[in-house]
Amino acid sequence: MGKRAFVLLGLVLAAFGLFALTQQPKPLDPFEEAKRQRQAFLETFGVLPGELFVQQGKELFLRKGPSGKTLEACDFGKGPGVLEGVYAFLPRYFPDTGRVEDLESRVYTCMQRVQGFRPQEIKRDEVRAITAYIASFSSKARIQVVPRHPQEVAMYNLGRELWYTRAGSRDMSCAVCHDRYAGQRVRLSPVRSPEQGLGNEWPAYRFEEDQLYTFEDRINFCYESIGIPEPEFYSEPHIALATYILAEATKAGHTFEELPFFTR
């Protein structure tokens, strides 16, 4: 199961450690820094960490579950086995589950309903890799999340409400930074609004954390940093926020980055 990928990844990370040691302490422009790190990976290994996750995800995608089926039997929105561009339309309503699902929760429910895994057998890291694999088929695709089904509209409205909810001991909400102060920085991190394309870079390899982050991972990171406990993976707050953010990015005509992206 992706042993080669893991060995390669290990090598890449070890080299990255060495590379990081030689860096000067002065922080650079975050976008420049990400470009530089990406280039260093490419020059040293000819491969990006994100590609290794994609490769691992592909192996997991084609692995048979207890039912004997692979994820090729899962409908991600354009029919079973079709992956081209599906991520750009998610989250959306799926009649078979009767729910709005983002890519990660769709992987999660298909692993249960189609492949026959029990929920406790599904490892989060596997869902991450599979998500990266499927999203890679929507690299540079135009984001096309337009709520139409009543449940999609309901999810959008819930997401908008969560977006504006001030809560926790830091008195924060998504909107208070990502709308009113979009274009500014939190420490060195650039903060964007959905209108500026927020959400168009996930899943991504974050070199600062040395991990693959999906959209849900990134939303959790945000909640954690504003002192609100993270919502559980595949839960409605995640799907609602993704629907709202990506629908707003759609209105502004944004496209995804190269997926999985390489970022700070």
Binding site: K26, P27, A154, N157, L158, E161, L162, Y164, T165, R166, A167, G168, S169, R170, D171, M172, S173, A175, V176, C177, R180, Y181, Q184, R185, V186, R187, L188, V191, Y223, I228, P229, E230, P231, E232, S235, E236, P237, H238, A240
Partner: protein, 186 residues
């Protein structure tokens, strides 16, 4: 007569509309619960002020502002000895600590710190304002409860929410105002 009927219908529809707020709230609470008990607990524990800011998308109607400010002002506590200007060295620790002040998330301060955020105004050279009673008091109260000055501002209510004590707030004031503080040294 016709106008009255239209008005009555309008009032009826308005009432109907307002009474329908319930289902959305119930749906929202169900969604929050699906995020797990820890997430739901914090999101549902909004105080009155947070709920108002959420409702009005951080833009409070003018008629609510005086009451909001007065309510927030009443939450400000002061050090027992009444001194609002404390120890700048301890203030620097609170200012810098990501788990307490976390002020560099949004503000520039000590010019040596390059990893500062830009959402709030730069505090470098803040001490140029001098140390008059008015400046000290404003600085203290603003740090302790920012919402007593700007309703629903991004700046959180650090003192009210317990990230620093009144004494530590006085230390933060000293970090901003003391001529020896790196914020004011040239």
């Amino acid at each position: 007569m016709k106008e009255k009927a239209v008005l009555a219908l309008g009032v009826f529809l308005l009432g109907l509309g307002l009474s329908q707020v319930g289902p959305f709230r119930a749906r929202l609470e169900a969604a929050l619960q699906s995020g797990g008990p820890r997430f739901a607990q914090v999101m549902l524990a909004q105080d009155r002020a947070q709920a108002l800011c959420t409702k009005y998308r951080d833009r409070l109607p003018a008629d609510l502002v005086p009451g909001f400010l007065a309510e927030q002002k009443a939450l400000i506590r002061y050090p027992q000895d009444g001194r609002l200007l404390g120890d700048w060295k301890n203030g620097e620790k609170v200012f810098t600590d990501p788990k307490r002040g976390n002020c560099y998330a949004c503000h520039a301060g000590d010019p040596k710190e390059v990893a500062y955020g830009t959402m709030g105004p730069s505090l470098t050279g803040y001490g140029e304002r001098g140390q008059s009673e008015a400046v000290v008091r404003y600085t203290y109260e603003k740090i302790y409860n920012a919402w007593a000055f700007v309703p629903c501002s991004l700046m959180y209510r650090g003192g009210v929410n317990g990230f620093f004590t009144p004494e530590e707030t006085a230390d933060l004031v000293a970090f901003l105002l003391s001529p020896e503080s790196p914020i004011n040294r040239r």
